[in-house]
Amino acid sequence: MTAESAPAPAAPAGAAEPRHGLRIFLIWLVLSAIVDPIIWFVWGPHLPPGAMSDTAASQQVDITVMAVMSAPVILFVLIYFIYALITWRQKPGDEEDGPPIHGNARISATWIIGTAVIVLGLFVYGTVELIVPAGAGAGEGNTPIWRPSGGTPLQVQVIAQQWRFTYRYPQFGGFETTDLVLPVGREVQFNVTSLDVIHSFWAIQLAVKADANPQLNNVAYTKTLHTGSFTVRCSELCGLWHGAMFDTGRVLSVAGFQAWATRTEAQLAALTRQLPPYALTYDANSVKQLGKAFHQAGLFGAGGNYYGSQYPVSP
């Protein structure tokens, strides 16, 4: 934070005008020196989203850094305002105007440069933090450019539909379940898609958020660090039961996850045979069995006969 020193107004000669600028600066310095360490050391480690995954830990640091940067800014403005409102309050009976200060080029330039430096610094920091933990848990669309290095991530497809999430594990035969289970210490790739309207997959404690768009794939990465359970909520308004569209996921040990996956694959084998083959998106008109069923039932078009029986026609 750039130092704000007193401008040089015309102080009446001989009058003991207090150095307002210096006072404000000192109060600000002391308070910032107290508040910033409290934010960094005391509050920071407890800030959401916690540290259950690498994206969550990195975002926790991000939020802490931004809080540390913005606290002095807020303090400066507040201290100045309070100081000014107390010191320069109109005394009763004083009907005079104040001094005609129209501006001060030095102060204005300092302010502009100072805010520009802070803001650009935050931009550089934000970009680095976006790239480093492979996209910072945000959905990167279907051609992600920030991928985790080394090894194959565990593939989990998140299928959002009105009003429930289901999860498919292509590396385990493509079974589909309503349970989201992940192994600890593993890089995970979420392929998020929707069967109808726009939803958003938000694994809160893993700090992963990716919108689920119909017929589009949205990829997000994270790496789990601790076992435990986490909440998954839909965070894009998707209709009547959006508020009730949530479930709980679990991060298990590697062995526990392997056991769960093979057990579930076996249990759901019959169901998996009935499902369409694993694909990154599911179009109601291109899933063969679904198309045939629609045809039998006399319904066409986006699964609701909205567009009438002559669709889809190749555009």
């Binding site: 005609p100 958020k209 990716a210």
Partner: protein
């Protein structure tokens, strides 16, 4: 015997003497709200019939049991009927028939007072300003009632006062009502009323367009409210396709109302821009323009440039819902991203349409109650222009999580961070104005100070949201909702209240009760902060927006917020009581210049006479020359003959 032939007197078509008075007609025969209502009903019935005729045979209509075409055409023709009944098209038809049209001066002279003119299509910008003021307060209170319903439901994560349908309806109505109608909350009342007076003009450039922009708003309001009759719309104010295509009839109310309001924004903005550019008095250079007028200018530019995109987007939504186009359907070659981008390309400038007028009002008020010139006038104006320009380059920050091309994200993060620089100029200007000032804590000043405090928090949390990694946790949660309530309600609405308390004595010649005003300020400020500050935590702890079930451990925070919200509603009720009591019952006169302001609007009587000024003033200085020894008055209101012409010759060379 010669037949005496009377000389033919020149007569205008319609038998009126040239320059003679119009034949007076009784109030119920002149077009006003009552004829507008008749026109609206007739128009709705015609439109509804037409829609049934056109689309009744569609299989989509027969199967779903709802005819969107009928509703949309009903609303649109109903609005046309409303406007026709009000007499909006009368002058157009008169001009096409070659008959004389109404003039502003005639209008102002004829209406010597009385309430009837406030219910008519009036060409006097002061009447339009007061119509807007009452309308905006009514729309704000209606939106606020919906907010009370939302907070009632959120008292418990498990016990539901409202069922899921009703809750979504209320959420959508609250958000849309507020954002839609509050876009004009300052430009409408104060922009239309004071911009001409502040620039020394006797009228606005396009009085008919200005009045039209007002009369569209009650139509948009009623159309939006009528969505309640259809069970509302499930998309919230953002109206994302494809959910909005899937929705039932209430969505049509949303699309038509928003489109109509977009039209109103375009018209109002267009008029203000033309007025500011073309109608300035001699001597009113750009460098002497009050900072409020700068904010109105930049806001109007945003309105004119951004609202057309909204109208286009709503139009495409309506065609997707009625005539089976597929703009937003992936299946058939469209894209849901198209809607998101169209909407937010409008939506981001829209939030600056909501923020800039607030900047203008508080920067205008501060010098008056600090008795000092505005510090850094050029910086303030440059800040507003910078915000306006940059606001078109940041809209993708609403779409960081949506799966857009990832390499665009650092770019939009940069532009969003950059926009906080011109936004920060407002604080520089305020802090500089405070330096060694003589600060008076009147009610308008209190609200302006409240604005600065709230906008500080709102603005800083905006920086948190602009950081893409942090946005992963914050997007779509109550954190983002608290941020925009701090900037829009804590900013714009507090500035609106400051403007009302500051300018009502000028607009109506009546003072608002000061004690009630101070109670209103302190209760509103305290309960506003106690309602929205915890919501940042609620959002970070994992509560998404627009949900009616949330984690049980967040119930104490939600309950605190709900109780605060009810008390906040109570404080706004105090405002309503103060406003209604002072203007209707008590009516204490407030003449002259109670705030001792140097502004040009304060140099004319309260309320200003027809034509605002007896003579076109010659502006001598900007309105912030406090403390300057022997400063000239802000304008010469009675310039000697010949000075005006000479001054025009001078200003042509400059501005």
């Amino acid at each position: 015997m010669a037949v005496e032939i009377q000389p033919e007197k020149a007569r205008e078509p319609g038998g009126r003497e040239p320059g003679g008075p119009r034949p007076a007609r009784p109030w119920w025969m002149r077009p006003a709200v009552h004829t507008g209502l008749i026109g609206a009903v007739l128009g709705y019935l015609v439109g509804h019939w037409l829609g049934n005729f056109l689309a009744g045979g569609y299989s989509q209509v027969a199967n779903s049991g709802q005819n969107d075409m009928a509703i949309v055409l009903g609303y649109l023709l109903g609005t046309v009927g409303w406007l026709a009944g009000l007499g909006v098209f009368n002058d157009l038809l008169r001009a096409m028939a070659g008959r004389p049209v109404r003039t502003v001066e005639e209008e102002e002279a004829a209406a010597a007072g009385g309430l009837a003119r406030y219910f008519r299509y009036s060409l006097d910008h002061k009447v339009v300003g007061l119509q807007y003021l009452v309308g905006m307060i009514a729309y704000f209170l209606t939106g606020g009632l919906f907010a009370m319903a939302i907070r009632t439901e959120l008292l418990s994560p498990t016990y539901h006062t409202l069922n899921a349908n009703a809750y979504l309806m209320v959420v959508g109505e609250h958000g849309t009502m507020m954002i839609m109608m509050m876009s004009s909350i300052i430009l409408g009342p104060f922009g239309n009323y004071f911009v001409p007076i502040m620039i020394g003009s006797k009228r606005v450039a396009f009085p008919r367009i200005e009045a039209l922009s007002f009369w569209i708003t009650p139509a948009a309001f009623i159309v939006l409210l009528s969505g309640v009759l259809f069970g509302g719309f499930p998309t919230g104010w953002t109206g994302y396709a494809p959910l909005s295509i899937q929705a039932t009839q209430g969505q049509d109310a949303y699309a038509v109302a928003f489109g109509l309001m977009g039209l109103s924004l375009i018209l109002a903005g267009f008029n203000i821009i033309a007025t500011i550019i073309c109608c300035r008095a001699p001597g009113m250079r750009w460098s002497r323009l009050p900072i409020f007028v700068w904010s109105m200018f930049t806001t109007a530019l945003l309105m004119v440039l951004a609202a057309p995109v909204l109208v286009g987007g709503m139009y495409m939504l309506i065609t997707d819902r009625t005539v089976q186009t597929a703009f937003f359907t992936e299946d058939l070659g469209g894209s849901n991203y198209l809607y998101e981008n169209l909407f937010w390309f409008f939506g981001h400038p829209e939030v600056y349409i909501l923020a800039l007028p607030g900047f203008g009002i508080v920067s205008e008020i501060l010098p008056v109650f600090c008795r000092k010139p505005l510090f850094g006038y050029r910086v303030a104006a440059a800040g507003m222009i910078g915000v306006a320009i940059l606001s078109f380059f940041v809209w993708q920050h609403h779409l960081f999580m949506s799966g857009i091309n990832p390499d665009m994200r650092p770019l939009y993060m940069l532009t969003t961070e950059l926009i906080s620089i011109p936004t920060g100029f407002i604080f520089l200007v305020a802090m500089g104005t405070f330096w060694k000032a003589k600060i008076r804590f009147t009610v308008p000043m209190l609200f302006a100070l409240g604005f600065y405090f709230n906008f500080l928090i709102g603005g800083i949390t905006g920086v948190f949201l602009s950081d893409v990694p942090a946005d992963t946790t914050e997007h779509g949660t109550f954190f983002s909702m608290a941020h925009f309530h701090y900037t829009i309600m804590g900013g714009l609405i507090f500035a609106f209240m400051a403007g009302v308390y500051y300018w009502l004595p000028k607009m109506m010649g009546i003072k608002l009760n000061e004690t009630l005003g101070k109670i209103h300020f302190w209760t509103m400020f305290i309960f506003f902060n106690s309602t929205f500050l915890p919501l940042f935590a609620v959002g970070l702890l994992g509560q998404p927006r627009r949900v009616f079930e949330y984690a049980r451990n967040l119930q104490p925070l939600n309950d605190w917020v709900s109780i605060s919200a009810f008390l906040l509603g109570g404080s706004i009720l105090i405002f309503l009581i103060n406003f209604v009591w002072s203007t209707v019952i008590a009516r204490e006169r407030e003449e002259g210049n109670p705030w001792r302001s140097r502004g040009l609007e304060w140099q004319v009587p309260s309320p200003p006479p027809p034509g605002n000024f007896r003579y076109v003033p010659v502006v001598l200085s900007d309105p912030y020359e406090y403390g300057v020894k022997d400063a000239p008055p802000v304008a010469d209101l009675d310039p000697p003959v010949g000075v005006v012409a000479a001054a025009y010759a001078g200003t042509e060379a400059e501005a």
